[in-house]
């Protein structure tokens, strides 16, 4: 087993990985940018190394600095978390070259799944269903011909892509040339590669992914599905498992396809095979594979009963799985809500500021993975994810009720959040019936914040009245009020 692991990430996922290390008796090294000097993930680690300025390329995306930090602290492995360098094959290769262990798949697996066109070809070879489409074509004529065969609407998307960049929906042949040009130019800008591919566009699909996990001895299993159809701006906000859409027959078929997909690229460690599923035909298609730990891994941990991060570390250290596919099963139902600092009434634009209050819910069946505390600053440099609220219950209904109760106990002041928005999604009949598809928020859900009630105005007035009287202070304040019971002792060293 490793003696010391460097965590090349920040926020909730860095802390979550450090907890796993602590439980396994492994020392931890945090890396951080100047903006994160007083972050919880730095305080949680045994040691910490400053990487550089706040901009990710100066810090969390800087391969050389991170490898230097690992050498300097005598770490023997690096966990990349998710985002940042986690799916960067060059990083995985650089970690290898530095004689350190990369806690994740091989650089080759990352590379093979990183290119959408190539991975689609290898998936087809492996017998994994892919979205009908054509890759490797160039001329406008070929694209038009392919689109006609597939049937409009179609999607043109960057081969090297990811994150929704270099992607266009084409509804009719007349839009093809313009869309193709737009996608190519975006792809060139974003990835330095203007190759695009074309495929059938399924507007009302479910996004269902399978967790796969392999050890270095060729044992590869899946840990069942996660239903991630509730999205806004192509980003997941609510995930759950089991999926209300899957039958056990379909679950078995998709699980086998996921394992076949991973096997095709010689996969080990944790990965996720994403599928889209047509709810009308129940046909499923390979979308892409994320060659890293997923944000929403906790719902799988609840329902399958395994600690995925501990197993990532164990596998990387050479341990074999003590179980096989038939030992694994789902029990109960788990849901995750991603609490973002964003304004759902204003196009989901991120919200920044100092957290005046940050009270996490607690109780039976509730787990909160967060990297923030009251007093922390939410900056514009990084992802606006404040916390992941995860619940489990005996069944879907119990889990939904628990999530609603838990969300109502989450208090965040200082930035706008999507808590009330998610509360409304959970209460919607479409969600309760399991009928939410990936474009549901955009097309079916017109949310407006409610008007302040009498109680709200009274509380605001009381806070206001009393805050001006230093003898009866009751509330938070960002203002330099020496009487405030909230002020941090930032002047400590004076």
């Amino acid at each position: 087993m490793f003696r010391k692991i460097l965590i090349a990430n920040r926020g909730e996922i860095a802390i979550r990985i450090m907890r796993a290390c602590k439980e396994l008796g492994i020392q931890t090294v945090a890396v951080y940018s100047e903006a994160d000097k007083n972050s919880l993930h730095v305080q949680f680690a045994d040691e910490s190394i400053l990487l550089g300025a706040a901009a990710p390329k100066e810090s969390y995306l800087n391969i050389d600095k991170i490898i230097d930090a690992a050498k300097q602290t005598n770490a023997d492995a690096i966990h990349p978390g998710y985002g940042f360098l986690s799916e960067n094959a060059s990083f995985a290769a650089a970690v290898d070259s530095a004689k350190l262990t990369f806690i994740g798949p091989s650089a080759d697996s990352i590379r093979a799944m990183g290119d959408k066109a190539e991975s689609k070809i290898s998936m087809k070879k492996a017998g994994v269903p892919t979205v009908p489409g054509v890759e490797g074509i160039e001329s406008e004529k070929d694209f038009k011909k392919a689109a006609k065969e597939i049937g409009y609407p179609v999607l043109v998307k960057a081969a090297a892509g990811g994150g929704g960049k270099g992607m266009r929906v084409v509804n009719t042949e007349s839009e093809m040339i313009e869309s193709l040009e737009a996608a190519r130019s975006e792809a060139l800008n974003a990835f330095g590669d203007d190759r695009v591919l074309i495929e059938k566009y399924l507007p009302n699909a479910h996004h269902i992914e399978f967790q796969v996990f392999g050890d270095k001895n060729g044992n590869l299993v899946h840990l069942f599905e996660r239903e991630c159809s509730a999205q806004r701006r192509h980003q997941k906000i609510i995930e759950e498992t089991p999926s209300p859409l899957l039958t056990s027959k379909l679950r078995k078929e998709m699980g086998e396809a996921a394992v076949a997909a991973a096997k095709a690229v010689g996969y080990f460690n944790a990965g996720t095979v994403e599928f889209i599923v047509d709810p009308d035909t129940l046909k499923f298609y390979f979308l892409e594979m994320n060659t890293r730990l997923q944000v929403e891994h906790p719902i799988t941990e609840f329902v399958v009963g395994l600690d995925l991060v501990q197993w990532q570390i164990r596998i990387a250290a050479g341990e074999k799985f003590p179980f096989t596919q038939k030992d694994l099963f789902q029990r109960g139902h788990a849901i995750e809500c991603r609490v973002y600092a964003e304004d759902p009434a204003g196009g989901f634009l991120p919200s920044t500021g100092r957290l005046l209050q940050f009270i996490e819910p607690r109780g039976p069946g509730i787990r909160v993975d967060s990297g923030f505390a009251a007093g922390n600053e939410v900056t514009h440099f990084y992802d606006p994810l404040l916390a992941k609220l995860i619940v489990d219950g005996e069944n879907r209904e119990v889990a939904i009720q628990r999530m609603k109760a838990a969300l109502s106990e989450f208090v965040v002041h200082g930035v706008t959040t999507n808590i009330d928005f998610m509360q409304s999604v959970l209460a919607h009949p479409d969600f309760q019936n399991g009928e939410v598809t990936t474009r549901w928020v955009e097309t079916n859900f017109n949310w407006k914040p409610s008007e302040p009630t009498l109680e709200i105005l009274i509380a605001a007035a009381l806070a206001d009245q009393t805050i001006t009287n230093p003898k009866s202070k009751i509330s938070n304040s960002n203002e330099p009020d020496p009487y405030s019971p909230w002020k941090a002792a930032s002047g400590f060293r004076n």
Partner: protein, 166 residues
């Protein structure tokens, strides 16, 4: 004491132990059972209400029953920020402001350029997102107040355009 939040006035008077609030011609009795660490334990007309409250300048954050509201105290300057925020997309506005804090990634036009409605003038990067600042109407670029690489605050003016009369 009278206070106005987002155009709604509330009048709070203390009668020793308790408070009385008047708003929208309604009168309610308030008892403060306990107040600590930004958490108020109240009885409002006898009903138990827990409220979390925070202040930040003119803003009041209040959470009751799991719902959070941000109210702006308006002492004559009612809904100031609302007006300013909408200026970015308003029909008559010519000052284009940053909708959120971020870093200027590119400035695609020069002063004096004629631009058409919807044209991207400047790209901001914030929290992994690209935000395109587009021309609200066919116009001329009057001045550019942001530079590539610069970190800007929310509502900071980035570009000023003059509407073309057509």
């Amino acid at each position: 004491m009278k206070t106005t939040f987002d155009q709604r006035a509330i009048d709070l008077t203390s009668n020793g132990k308790n408070y009385k609030a008047v708003l929208d011609d309604q009168t309610v009795d308030i008892e403060i059972v306990h107040a600590e660490n930004g958490k108020l334990d109240l009885l409002i007309d006898g009903n138990h209400v827990i409220a979390y409250v925070s202040s930040d300048g003119a803003k009041r954050w209040v959470t009751v029953n799991g719902r959070t509201f941000v109210l702006t105290k308006s002492s004559g300057t009612a809904s100031d920020s609302k007006n300013r925020r909408s200026s970015a997309g308003g029909e008559h506005a010519s000052e284009l402001a940053a909708p959120m804090p971020g870093q200027v990634r590119s400035v695609n036009v020069s002063e004096g350029d004629a631009v058409s409605k919807g044209q991207t003038l400047l790209v901001l990067e914030a929290m992994k997102m690209e935000i395109r600042i587009q021309a609200p109407f066919d116009s001329t670029v009057k001045s550019i107040t942001a530079k590539v690489g610069q970190t800007v605050e929310r509502e900071q003016i980035l570009i000023v355009v003059d509407k073309l009369e057509s």
